[in-house]
Subunit: 227 residues, 2 copies
DNA sequence: ACAAAAGTGTTTACTGTACACCCATGG
DNA sequence: CCATGGGTGTACAGTAAACACTTTTGT
């Protein structure tokens, strides 16, 4: 059987929407490009897929070499194929989104970028390529996914309080959720486990600390949202 | 700005999971390959993406030239990147699924295939490449999507009865749904419109004919399933 | 003892679920 | 007039939504 190298193939890249949560704000990592095209423009981090790499390996390479991150939650989002999306020629982008805890990493600009900055999702600047479209789809996906899959904890520390989880949900969904109904729903789902320890050093009553229930079956969770 | 043609890029193909509904059975179109690799093996229809084609254009090309279909519902499913998925070399597959009404088309084998056949989703044979995995994901996607997006009518004639829609849902979800609760739920959602006409020529009471409500806002629809 | 945040419980409204009856048609 | 499938309605149960009170801590 012969290999097929006769065809010309589009370039293939992976682009990443890296979400981080900090101080009651959901943010996305953007790079400021220092090369054409879109020099001095903010874009999503990404890289071309090497012949021997899976998409996830390309993602890891970007996260490690450009952002100093490893071991983060990754999920494929969509593949973007507009023929005009890259002025250099035909290029496909397979978009992934990542959920990271910004406390664990310090981002620094790599060789391709002037700067690497967390931007709150409500203050995203103009982006190069079709990256605004990719970002919007990623945010929508995160908002719908968090309602039926236990992924919120990926953005928090290993131990967290109910209030922290509650505020995370309000922030991501951009709505207010009744504190008491949220608590009941989350606890009924066994999404999280009370560790028995408490966070102290605060001014008021010390809240219980929870951790994610790793034994949770994936579909065991369904949060309904009322405003 | 220079173009980037220095890199070697993976082959890029589109593969299609074409769903059709007929006689209370959900089926998928499969080709029997007549060339290596996987000669005489059933596979999903697909084609390599040309440099000037969007994914959807590639899908249309496959549907038209290989299957004689046009104007069908298409949605991107996922991109498959296992390095070993094609023995000829590195090949990415961007999978789409399609919903068609088999009454409208007659499938005939093209030059690449010995045969083109509708297989009931419960009787899918062994498939070449990673196509079984693609099929399984497509079926899951269809099953979850049909609960909150009005796409079921894509598989039916323009005018249909409530019973036909009801049976379609039972068939796709592989469960039984109470006839009367289904009816109320669907009508409340304004998913469909009663045309005022009836289907006659049947043995019993002539059922009302409905058509899809094209003015329906996309998110206005949510079907809960009980067994 | 006061303020502020955390933990707990109750009532109401709604939506899903189960189920029964009547209606229209062809044979 | 009977069998069969189609159309309509109702009672019950479970879940979501709105809401109030008590507890714990630091100052």
């Amino acid at each position: 059987m012969k290999a097929f190298q006769s065809y010309k193939n589009p370039s293939l890249a992976v682009d990443l929407v890296v979400f981080g949560y900090h101080e009651n704000e959901l943010s996305v990592l953007l790079l400021n490009r220092n090369a054409e095209p879109f020099a001095n423009t903010w874009v999503l981090p990404g890289a071309f897929v090497q012949m021997d790499e899976t998409f996830l390996q390309t993602c890891s390479r970007v996260l490690q070499t450009k952002l100093g991150m490893d071991n983060v939650y990754l999920e494929q989002l969509y593949s973007f194929d507009n023929p005009d999306r890259d002025p250099r020629g035909r290029a496909i982008s397979v978009a992934y989104y990542a959920l990271v805890n910004p406390h664990k990493f310090t981002v620094t600009a790599g060789q391709m970028a002037n700067d690497v900055v967390w931007f709150p999702v409500k203050k995203i600047p103009a982006l190069g390529f079709d990256h605004k479209e990719i970002f919007k789809m990623a945010l929508q996906r995160l908002q719908s996914k968090i309602l039926y899959m236990p992924i919120g904890f990926e953005l928090l520390d290993e131990l967290f309080t109910m209030t922290e989880l509650h505020e995370l949900y309000e922030c991501i969904l951009d709505i207010t959720i009744d504190r008491r109904n949220f608590r009941r729903k989350i606890l009924d789902s066994e999404y999280i486990i009370n560790t028995g320890t408490k966070r102290d050093g605060l001014q008021n009553r010390h809240p219980d600390l929870y951790r994610f229930n790793k034994k949770l079956k994936k579909n065991q969770f369904q949060l309904s949202v009322g405003i």
